[in-house]
Structures are given as C-alpha cells and as structure tokens.
C-alpha cells in the first residue's frame, strides 16, 4: 500500500486539495494536518462576521472528512520534513510517511518592530483564536488603535465601530490600501470610514509605544501621539516557509514553486498563501497572493498535479472586502495596468478597468453598495483570463453591455 498523500495545513488550500484528491479519483490514504483545534474554517469571516459576534464557518462539515476517507489531524504541528526518508515528523513525536506531500502552511501576521511593541498586549488577526480574543477585548466606548490601513486593518476598524469603539487607524503610507487597491477606490473607502466616525491618519509612521496603566501611547515619527486602550497590528503577513526552508526547498518570497506548483523537490508541492508561483497570464511574473480564491484555486490545482496532472496555474486573481454597506472586488492585477478607464454607474458605484501598455485588460476593480459591482468584475475576470483587449471608450460607457464583450471571445471563457 502506498504511503499516501500528506497535506500540511488545513486552511482553504489544504482542505480544498484533500477533497479534490478524492474528486480526481486518488485512492490512497489522504492525511490532512492542521495546527489548530477547530474544525477547518473559512478565514474571510474572521475580520467581518466573527468580530461582529458571528460563529466560525466550517469549510466542510465534520462528517464529510470521514465520508471522503480523509484523516483529519487537528492541533498537530509538523516540525520537520525528512525528504530523504519521505516522511514528516510531528512536534509532539511520531511521524508519517508520504509519497506525495503538499505544503499549505499559509502565512503568519507580521509583528510590530517598534520599541515598546512587546511591552504590552498587541493584537493581531489571522486565526480563530485571534478573532475570539479581539472580539472579547473590544468594548463600547473603548479607544482602539489599528496599525495598518490595509484590508484587514480597515475591516477591523469597521467591525470595531460596529461594536461602539472609538477607532483610529494609523497608516505609514500616504494613503489607505496602497498595495492592491487603486487610489480612486481607496479614497471612497476613506470617506466611508470617516463618515462612520473612524479617525484616519495616513503618512503616520509609528515610532514607539509607551504603555502606562494599560493605556498605550502610540508615538508617531512626526511627534504626534494617539492614546489607545487596545492596539491591533494589521501590518500584513509573511509566508510560513520555515518547514520548507529547513528541508532545503527553494524559497523566494514564499515557497518557490513552478507554474504546476512543484517545489524544487518534485514529490512536494505547495499551495496557498505560503507559495510564490510564476503566472503565465502575467508574463510569467512571480506572484504570491493572499486571498481566499487563490488558496482555493491552488489547492484544487495541487490535487490535480499530485495525481499525475500537468496543469499550469491559470486562474485570474480575485478578492473582495466588505466594509460597512460597501463591497469591494478586485480582479487581475490592477497595478500591472498602464492606464485606467472608469465606468461611472451613478450613485456610489464605480468600476475601474486597468489596461496594460499593449491594450490588454490586466485588472478590474469596483466598489459599490453590497454586491453591486460583482457582475462587472465577474465579466472582467473572464476578459482578463482570455487576454482580451477591449476598447477603452466602450468600457467607459455605462450603457454599453459588458457581457456582450464575452460573446466576442474566441472560446467560451467559463
């Protein structure tokens, strides 16, 4: 009997891969190892519903694992990968052989590096325990300071306002959401946060935290200070590459894999937030993406390629955020665009199309009430995947049917 498939990491990528292995007809043992005690859960609600009081949302029901013949080991940490013996060793002793291994180890929140950051409680938000701790700590009227004006920081800000806290966001960059969201949309979100009572401080570089009687004094480089009863660091995540690096696998801003998700050891693949991969759709540019969709897509692809498939990455990156009544969606790589075309739908709904220097659509982003931009972005995703180069004036005209552009594509772009 084969030693089977072992998956390290029971987040969206790992769980998806385990079930996809079965869907692909893999008959050997499948073992899925997660470091947390909870049944594997969806991460996006942690910074939204769960902070607001909602329950965790399991990725699959507990009975599904047994029904699919997947051995789920919870609360177990893998200490080492012994490639020469094709086995993994657990932190708490024992080991497990594999003939194919998937690393889906995710990412860990970056820690504040300023003086005083370790001298008091600084919350981060990545897993369920973090979300529960933060939820329990936020009280009405409390002063909450959030370091970092990225997606997680802003979602925490909205949730903390929802719980009646007085919220300040300190962002070191000149604007919110500097990494993946176009400035036009970030500006609209900034207005929404301000009108909901959040104090936003951009170009505000934290220099030091001084703690006094449980109150944090956050000193900025420009000399200004902010007092807070609760501090949250939302300054991004770093890929968890320790296992891979210790096993001698190549690491390049994440576990380095090829377009088929193989690491420098062909028996080992990686998927999700932990890996960087060359994306054929963007000239083979090496990407590392931190999104629910990316984790899902790479998990599925890894399962196919673990069972003899030879498929390359092809998904169009996509992510969303919900803040107050607004829904944000981003597809492709807006930052890879050379020109931006705006489609103004009226009201507070706006879709942006990002065209490369060669006229190809490389990204789209939209912001509006609820899911009002979802359809534009769903269509744009297909156009990006088909390498379409739609006419800019057509894209800008809200009365021109976007969907009609799909019928012009050479093949059905499902």
């Amino acid at each position: 009997m084969s030693a089977g498939a072992v998956i390290v990491g029971a987040g969206e990528a790992g769980v998806g891969a385990a079930f996809a292995l079965r869907a692909a007809g893999y008959a050997g043992p499948v073992t899925l190892i997660g470091g947390e005690a909870e049944l594997p859960y969806e991460r996006p609600p942690l910074s939204k519903d769960v902070l607001g009081g909602g329950a965790l949302k399991p990725i699959r029901a507990e009975a599904d694992y047994a029904a699919a013949g997947i051995t789920l080991l919870r609360g177990r940490t893998v200490r080492r990968v012994r490639r020469e013996a094709r086995e993994i060793a657990f932190e708490d002793g024992g080991g497990l052989g594999y003939d194919r291994l998937l690393l889906a180890t995710g990412a860990a929140p970056r820690r504040l590096q300023v003086p005083g950051a370790e001298a008091g409680p600084v919350h981060t938000l990545r897993d369920a325990a973090d979300a529960f701790a933060l939820r329990a700590a936020i009280e009405p009227g409390m002063r909450v300071a959030i370091i970092g004006g990225g997606l997680i920081g802003l979602e925490v800000a909205a949730a903390a306002r929802g719980r009646g806290a007085a919220v300040t966001v300190l962002e070191a960059g000149p604007r919110l959401l500097g990494r993946g969201v176009p400035a036009e949309l970030a500006a609209i979100l900034a207005v929404a946060h301000r009108s909901n009572g959040v104090r936003l401080c951009t170009s505000c570089s934290l220099a030091e935290i001084v703690w006094r009687d449980g109150v944090a004094d956050l000193r900025s480089a420009d000399g200004s200070g902010t007092l807070a009863d609760l501090v949250v660091a939302a300054i991004g995540v770093a890929p968890r590459t320790e296992l891979a690096a210790a096993a001698g696998l190549a690491v390049d801003n994440g576990i380095a894999v090829d377009a088929e998700l193989r690491t420098s050891d062909a028996a080992i693949l990686a998927a999700g937030d932990c890996c960087s991969f060359p994306h054929p759709l963007f000239g083979g540019r090496r990407l590392r993406l931190e999104s629910w969709q990316n984790a899902q897509e790479l998990g599925q692809l890894a399962a196919l390629n673990l069972t003899g498939g030879r498929q390359a990455v092809s998904h169009v990156p996509w992510m969303w955020s919900d803040q107050y009544a607004l829904g944000l969606q981003v597809a492709g790589l807006p930052a890879a665009g050379a020109a931006t075309v705006a489609r103004h739908h009226g009201g507070d709904r706006l879709t942006l199309f990002h065209l490369g220097a060669d006229g190809r659509l490389v990204g789209a982003s939209g912001l509006g009430p609820g899911n009002s931009v979802a359809r534009d972005i769903a269509i744009a995703r297909r156009l990006i995947g088909a390498r379409a180069a739609p006419d800019a004036a057509y894209l800008a005209d809200p009365s021109a049917s976007l969907k009609a552009l799909l019928s012009l594509l050479p093949a059905a772009a499902g």
């Binding site: 699959r60 969709q293 609820g370 979802a374 359809r375 769903a378 269509i379």
Partner: protein, 104 residues
C-alpha cells in the same frame, strides 16, 4: 397545493439573465435561459447571504456575486466550490406576458 404567483413580466428579464422577485418576506431569482425558457430558484445563495440576482448568468449557470459559487439554475445543483448545497427550484409557467412561479 399549487400556488401560482406572478413573479414578473416576460420582457422584464433579458435572455441569459436573472431578475429578483420578493414575495412574502422571501427572495426568489427568476432566470431566462438563452433559449428563452424561464426558471426560478431561491434567491439567496446556499453558502452565505448573497442575492443571486446580483450575479452573472452564463448559459445555464448562475454565479453567486459574493464568492463565485455556481449553480445550474434548471436543477438547482451546485456546480463549483465553495457551494455544495443545492438551491431549491420552483416550477415556472408563462401565461401571456406574465411569468408565474409555483410557490407550493
């Protein structure tokens, strides 16, 4: 017991598109397939609260606007992660210019 209720007019929904119908506190989605046939399902995704009529119809699939889960709206069957629970469907008939659904 059949309980036929007018959901919309035939011309209210384009070919290969979807519309929303609210009735008695419930939300339904009415589809007009590329061949002109009408279908109806529950209007909220089975995965998380999202109004399906904000989504995109491609052929016989509706893609949820929130997380891109897909359903075949003729049968309600789930057709792609993250959805795994089928949508409930409802019988539909066209009378003159009206689209009626049987709420049972």
């Amino acid at each position: 017991m059949a309980n036929w209720t007018r959901a919309c007019g035939v011309e209210d929904i384009d070919l290969e598109d979807v519309g929303r119908f609210d009735h008695a506190g419930r939300v339904f989605a009415i589809y007009r397939a590329p061949d002109g046939q009408f279908y109806a399902t529950d209007g909220i995704c089975t995965h998380e609260h999202a109004i399906l009529s904000d989504g995109l119809v491609m052929d016989h699939l509706i893609e949820c606007p929130k997380h891109m889960g897909r359903f075949d709206y003729r049968s309600g069957a789930a057709r792609g992660a993250p959805v795994c629970v089928a949508l409930r469907t409802y019988p539909v008939r066209v009378e003159g210019d009206d689209v009626l659904i049987d709420l049972g």
